[in-house]
């Protein structure tokens, strides 16, 4: 430690500091005066150059927590002061930590060891790009000597643990923040990967090998086990590294994550799909060295030795070894030579021969687990199969096991999964047992096998035995799922909670089942037809005689399975007919109605149609069964009903008659010119029944509105037929003129209105389209107009029945407004215009009814959002005037209002109501802003003298007094407010300059609040607003104009105090933030963009602040450093005085360098 210029060298002083830290650590653990103790501990890391003191504590203190804190302090101070530590000091600190870890390798306080190790790795990384290779080698030499075992097992263990810490620190996902840009971390990562990872791996490999014989030969636990386990863990960690240097060499034919677009929508999310692709450089270490053989032999030997002791499977060395085996299964890419995959297959065969003992025979293993054996080996076996499946083709996968046993791997996988499902069905489903997890892993395995890559010929996917295995497995799955459904049919404890929590998991599981079914579609579809027919037959036989609940639940479950098998969810796109269904069936055109999928679909639709009968509804079609039917019809119709995919069939037909005949048959049968319209009519009538004959069933009605009807009107060619159906016209008529549908939940009203208006896109004549909308929504608007015109409206408005009607009508208006499109835009504008003045009446009358106020505001927001870009100048003026009156009215109702209530819940609700309203108003103002950006009208809005920026600022002026600092704590309101404010200041700074001082001050107050917000996005928006203001002022004054004018000079406020000008105030505030406060390093760039124009505008103040800062430094050295840094900030990289793109880029670099240089010592206490 020579050369240190630490201020403290006196032994007595070191001793007393150590005592103080020890006392603080002890006190804080006993909760004695924790604040003071915390301050003492923090002061250690925040003091200048505390290294001598910290090292003294580490070497001498008997209190482990004190040593821990000393290590933490070294890290904090060194990272902060790195910029001006000498090279010798840097190396010295790292070396000290390394030596400390090695010398105390046998210490029982593991967490202190881990902390010091971590500090060493962080400091090493911090200096990584500065150290020359020779310096790194010198440091690593110590580590290598430890790992070789020269200093004994404890030191060997400590050395491996240090490498763990180092690899973790250099990996981006687990690196520590150092106040440096991402590029630094990336360079370190790349450097370690290219130059050191393989070396570390080899060292660890040799360490493990060196202790193997001792472990195997011993009959009891030996200390070497600890070293071996640590080595296995470290190798695992390295293989988990995100290798990048050899990505381009990866073989396409074994990479299931190729970038190409898939042929169908079968892609599914997978768990545990990490591939290990270190590249060809690792061939010698991983493949040629018999490393895998060594690992398998080690595990097998120990497994045999301890086979009578069940606990052994969960020992650390066993767990680590198995994890590493699973990791080796994921090995792929250039690490294997280019020999058509032979070496890779050999590698996998070797692994499988070791793994198969863990899981075979499945029934014997599961019985052993039932009798108390640990399940971890079985689970790891499943994970290994998943890993192998991810790096092989189905044919290779199938062939692996055949080299050892008479059956293929796929058949074995099917048997294994069947056994797992059997166990799962017999155990208590409330608990997550091993079989639960095993099933999930095996489903992922099947998904990996069955997801096709660059092929549309499914026959190339699986060998015939695999297809048979999949069919058997699926049959077993269906049988078990129906048995489970039947067994739980009467179980409703916690049903709703359970259902919601698991619905996404269930959907994922059913999607995996569907993949398995599709692999053998010619067997599984007929199976589903038979099972469905049996259940329907059972219903018919038992109706009125026996309790049908069990059969209903089986049908519910079966419909979900069938829906997944024959159609994909789509996720926002229109899903196609699954590939296997397109290609697997050979269909004679004359016998299209014999197609199994057509038979299955038709059976279900015929069954569903029976719900139109009141007797069948009462006895068979329970709300839950109806939910599954609606769900099925929504999913099915998106793929099969009048599919637009058929339009291109003529082209495809000429070239691929055989492969596409199945798809053609399917799409034609349910196409526009065949059964399509008939089925559509049935669906609409079923929907009508669901909405009107199941009162109070919100879930069913929600499915109908949001999924089924919504998906129908998404497709224009279906709308063409919808609007011609009597059933659809009946639905529209009931909606607009009758009270039946008023009993729907109000949110469903909105969805239904939106759906009905959207269907107008199916009417070819635009005038007829508009008339349709008028006929549909006119009665609703008439109701609004008439009721608000009643002389006694004020006295009846609060009646619950009136409230309900008004709420329903407003929700319908909202739905219609949000369905606007060019051809119906005029009709919807007229609709809104006709109720505009009445909306204001409602706002007055319902000012105390927050739910109605919110609906009113949301309707206006949706209406304007859909209309504003189309409006002509006169229309824009009318709408803008309406908005201003709305804002004035809302503001006058709420300024100064205080809610009173005994209930804190109700007070909280009132606050939430206010937040929602304000957010809606901000959205309204944002929509108005868009008029200046996007305008499809035929004349300029200036023709009517409308100035959008003035309007929006006026609106902000009325709204911001209602936005208290408390309300800005609502994240979404905060985000919306600062988004709008930032946009306005960036686009219209000149209008901002014209605000009166009161409005100006309020906006500045919120801006200051935003600058110190914890959400980086909000801070970023405020910084961009600041940049806009300052650059506007700088450019304007540079041209001889007044810019922000009076707002930039100081003035006296109402209390007589002198207030700084705007730019002065924010320059000071921004410098304070950058130099002394905590913030995300991602904000430095945008902060630089704000700081540059502020400095240019207020150069005098900037000089003054800089000088003050310099004078505050405690010694001449720091004064000099800071002065140089400040000078460099505004002069380096040819920085000039212009506000152009290049200059902004230069200043960003300058600020980054500046902060790295000076924050280290400025933040010292």
């Amino acid at each position: 430690m020579q050369g240190f210029t630490a201020p403290t060298t006196d032994f007595t002083e070191l001793q007393s500091t150590m005592r103080a830290i020890e006392h603080a650590c002890t006190s804080i653990q006993m909760h004695i005066n924790p604040g003071a103790s915390e301050a003492v501990i923090l002061s250690l890391g925040q003091s200048s150059q505390p290294y001598k003191t910290c090292q003294f504590i580490l070497e001498n203190s008997q209190v482990a927590t004190a040593r821990f804190q000393a290590a933490a302090a070294i890290r904090e101070a060194a990272i902060r002061e790195w910029g001006f530590l000498s090279a010798d000091d840097k190396r010295g600190l790292i070396s000290f930590c390394l030596c400390y870890v090695m010398q105390h390798a046998s210490s029982p306080d593991g967490y202190v060891q881990a902390k010091v190790s971590s500090v060493a790795t962080q400091l090493m990384k911090r200096g990584w790009l500065e150290f020359v290779p020779a310096e790194k080698e010198a440091l690593f030499y110590q580590v290598n000597q430890a790992i070789v075992g020269i200093h004994g097992l404890d030191v060997q263990f400590a050395g491996i643990k240090f490498l763990d810490s180092l690899v973790s620190e250099f990996s981006p996902s687990t690196s520590s923040a150092m106040g440096l840009p991402r590029e630094f971390h990336e360079q370190c990562r790349r450097s370690l990967e290219q130059d050191y990872l393989k070396t570390f791996y080899r060292w660890t490999q040799e360490a493990a090998s060196s202790v193997t014989n001792r472990i195997i030969e011993s009959d009891s636990a030996v200390p070497e086990v600890k070293v071996c386990t640590a080595a296995l863990d470290h190798m695992l960690q390295i293989l988990n590294w995100d290798f990048r240097s050899n990505t381009s060499e990866t073989k396409i034919n074994v990479n299931v994550f190729s970038a190409g677009v898939r042929q169908d929508g079968d892609s599914l999310k997978r768990s545990e799909c990490h591939l290990v692709q270190p590249g060809s450089d690792w061939h010698d270490v991983l493949i040629l060295s018999s490393h895998v053989g060594w690992l398998l032999s080690l595990y097998a030997a120990l497994r045999l030795k301890f086979s009578c002791e069940g606990y052994w499977l969960d020992c650390p060395i066993a767990v680590s070894a198995r994890k590493l085996v699973v990791q080796f299964c994921s090995l792929t890419g250039a690490v294997f030579l280019s020999d058509d995959g032979k070496m890779h297959e050999q590698h996998l065969l070797q692994l499988l021969s070791g793994i198969i003992e863990w899981v075979d025979p499945p029934d014997a293993v599961s019985k052993a687990i039932e009798n108390g054996k640990s399940d971890s080996e079985m689970l790891d076996g499943c994970r290994a199969l998943l890993a192998i499946a991810n790096v092989t083709t189905p044919y290779v996968f199938e062939g692996l096991l055949k080299s050892m046993r008479p059956i293929g791997t796929l058949t074995f996988l099917s048997m294994l999964m069947s056994e797992v499902i059997k166990v799962l069905m017999t155990s208590n489903t409330e608990e997550e047992t091993w079989s639960w997890e095993a099933r999930d892993v095996l489903l992922d395995t099947w998904t990996a096998i069955l997801t096709p890559i660059n092929t549309i010929n499914v026959n190339a996917l699986l060998p015939s035995e695999g297809i048979k295995a999949a069919a058997n497995l699926f049959g077993f799955i269906v049988e078990c799922e129906l048995r489970l459904a039947s067994a739980t049919a009467f179980n409703d404890e916690g049903d709703s909670d359970y259902l919601h929590a698991s619905v996404s998991a269930m959907d994922e599981r059913l999607s995996c089942y569907a993949l398995i079914a599709r692999a053998s579609i010619d067997v599984t579809i007929p199976l589903l037809i038979r099972v469905f027919s049996e259940r329907v037959g059972h219903l018919n036989q038992g109706r009125g005689i026996i309790d049908l609940t069990e059969t209903l639940e089986e049908l519910y479950s079966l419909l979900l399975i069938i829906g997944h098998v024959i159609a994909d969810e789509g996720e926002g796109e229109l899903p196609l007919v699954p590939n296997t269904i397109q290609t697997q069936f050979v269909v004679n055109a004359v016998e299209a109605d014999k197609h199994p999928v057509i038979l299955l679909s038709s059976s279900i639709i015929k069954f569903a149609e029976q719900c139109l009968s009141p007797e069948m509804r009462a006895s068979v079609f329970s709300p839950r069964l109806m939910e599954s039917i609606i769900w099925f019809l929504a999913r099915w119709s998106r793929t099969y009903l009048m599919s637009s995919d058929g339009i291109g069939e003529k082209i495809l037909d000429s070239g691929h008659h055989h492969e596409h005949s199945s798809k053609k048959a399917l799409l034609c049968f349910f196409g526009e010119h065949n059964q399509g319209k008939l089925v559509l009519d049935i669906i609409v009538r079923i929907s009508f029944i669901a909405l009107t004959s199941y009162p109070g069933e919100k879930d069913l009605q929600g499915l109908t509105c949001y999924q089924l009807l919504h998906s129908l009107v998404q497709q224009k060619h279906i709308c063409v037929h919808l609007v011609t159906l009597n059933s659809w016209r009946e639905l529209a008529t009931v909606f607009s003129t009758e009270k039946t549908l008023l009993l729907l939940d109000t949110a469903h009203q909105r969805s239904l209105a939106q759906t009905l208006v959207r269907s107008a896109s199916g009417i070819r004549n635009s005038e007829a389209s508009s008339q349709y909308v008028r006929n549909l929504m006119g009665p609703i608007a008439t109701y609004i107009v008439e009721i608000s015109s009643k002389s006694n409206f004020k006295s009846i408005a609060q009646q619950p029945d009136i409230l309900l009607s008004v709420s329903c009508m407003l929700e319908r208006l909202r739905g219609a407004a949000s369905a606007s499109e060019p051809r119906t835009q005029k009709a919807i504008y007229d609709l809104g215009f006709s109720v505009m003045n009445h909306i204001l009446v409602f706002l007055e009358v319902y000012k105390h009814e927050s739910a109605v106020v919110y609906l009113l505001l949301k309707f206006v927001v949706d209406w304007i959002d859909g209309q504003i870009t189309y409006l002509e100048a006169q229309e824009t003026a009318a709408v803008v005037n309406f908005c201003m009156r709305l804002l004035q009215l809302y503001s006058s109702h709420n300024i100064g209002k205080i809610s009173l209530s005994l209930s804190s819940s109700l007070l909280s609700e009132a606050k939430t109501d206010k937040y929602r309203d304000l957010r809606a108003l901000l959205q309204l103002l944002s929509s108005l802003c868009s008029k200046d950006m996007i305008d499809f009208s035929s004349d300029s809005i200036e023709a009517q003298g409308t100035n959008i920026s003035q309007v929006v600022y006026f609106g902000l002026h009325m709204v911001t007094p209602l936005i208290s600092m408390d309300l800005l704590k609502y994240p979404k309101l905060c985000h919306d407010y600062f988004s709008l404010l930032s946009h306005m200041l960036e686009v219209y700074p000149e209008t901002f300059a014209q605000l009166n001082s009161e409005a100006f001050a309020h906006i500045l107050g919120t801006l200051d609040f935003g600058l110190h917000h914890q959400d980086a996005d909000v801070v970023s928006k405020c910084l961009r607003a600041l940049q806009a203001l300052a650059s506007y002022h700088y450019k304007e004054t540079g041209s001889g104009n007044i810019g922000l004018g009076a707002h930039t000079v100081g003035h006296k406020d109402s209390s007589g105090n002198v207030q700084e000008g705007l730019l002065n105030r924010f320059l000071r505030s921004l410098l304070q933030l950058l130099l002394f406060e905590d913030y995300s390093s991602d904000l430095i760039s945008v902060a630089a963009d704000a700081l540059l124009p502020l400095i240019l505008c207020e150069q005098g103040l900037y000089q003054r602040l800089g000088n003050e800062l310099i004078e505050r430094q405690p010694n001449a050295t720091l004064k000099s450093r800071l002065a140089n840094a400040l000078h460099t900030l505004t002069s380096a990289n040819q920085l000039s005085s212009s506000l152009d793109r290049i200059n902004y880029q230069r200043f960003r670099k300058n600020l980054n360098s500046f902060l790295v240089q000076v924050r280290g010592f400025l933040r010292t206490m």
């Binding site: 709703s496 609940t549 839950r624 109070g696 939940d745 619950p800 209530s901």
Partner: protein, 160 residues
């Protein structure tokens, strides 16, 4: 204030229209419902089924708008519930009498003198302090099922 004339219904009529029937499924959060004879604001609604294949029922959690007590009820979704007629009226605060009653100015120029100050300390303080400072206060009075209570205060003018 509007000069429009209004004829308030007499107290005797209040009971006749204090509640309305409404289907349970249409009552949502932030709405009102009568639970155990008390007018409540709904703060939670959840639905469940009577068995898996039975019909939906709604579970309401409401807070008594006058006493702040929490009440719960479960109703089949298709059945009717009672919904209270909750009215809110604004009055200008004229005076606070010695006996604890408020003197309020109605829209038609008459006075309303039958409303007692709330007994809760924090509510009482907010009203008295605001009045003592000379503010122009508008008091919102919430009435339902024959009961009345102040629910909001609003300062509509500058300090004197």
């Amino acid at each position: 204030m509007s000069d429009e004339e209004h004829h308030f219904e007499s107290k005797a009529d209040a009971g006749a229209s204090k509640t309305y029937p409404q289907q349970a499924g249409t009552i949502r959060k932030n709405g009102y419902i009568v639970i155990k004879g008390r007018p409540c604001k709904v703060v939670e609604v959840s639905t469940s089924k009577t068995g898996k294949h039975g019909h939906a029922k709604c579970h309401f959690v409401g807070i008594d708008i006058f006493t702040a007590k929490k009440l719960e009820d479960i109703v089949p979704s298709s059945h009717n519930c009672d919904v209270p007629h909750v009215n809110r009226t604004d009055y200008q605060l004229i005076d606070i009498a010695e006996d604890g009653f408020l003197s309020l100015l109605t829209e038609n120029g008459n006075t309303k003198d039958d409303l007692k100050l709330p007994t809760d300390e924090s509510l009482l303080t907010q009203i008295k302090d605001g009045f003592a400072e000379g503010k122009d206060l508008v008091v919102s009075v919430m009435s339902a099922m024959g009961e009345e209570q102040i629910c909001a205060l609003k300062d509509i003018g500058p300090k004197n």
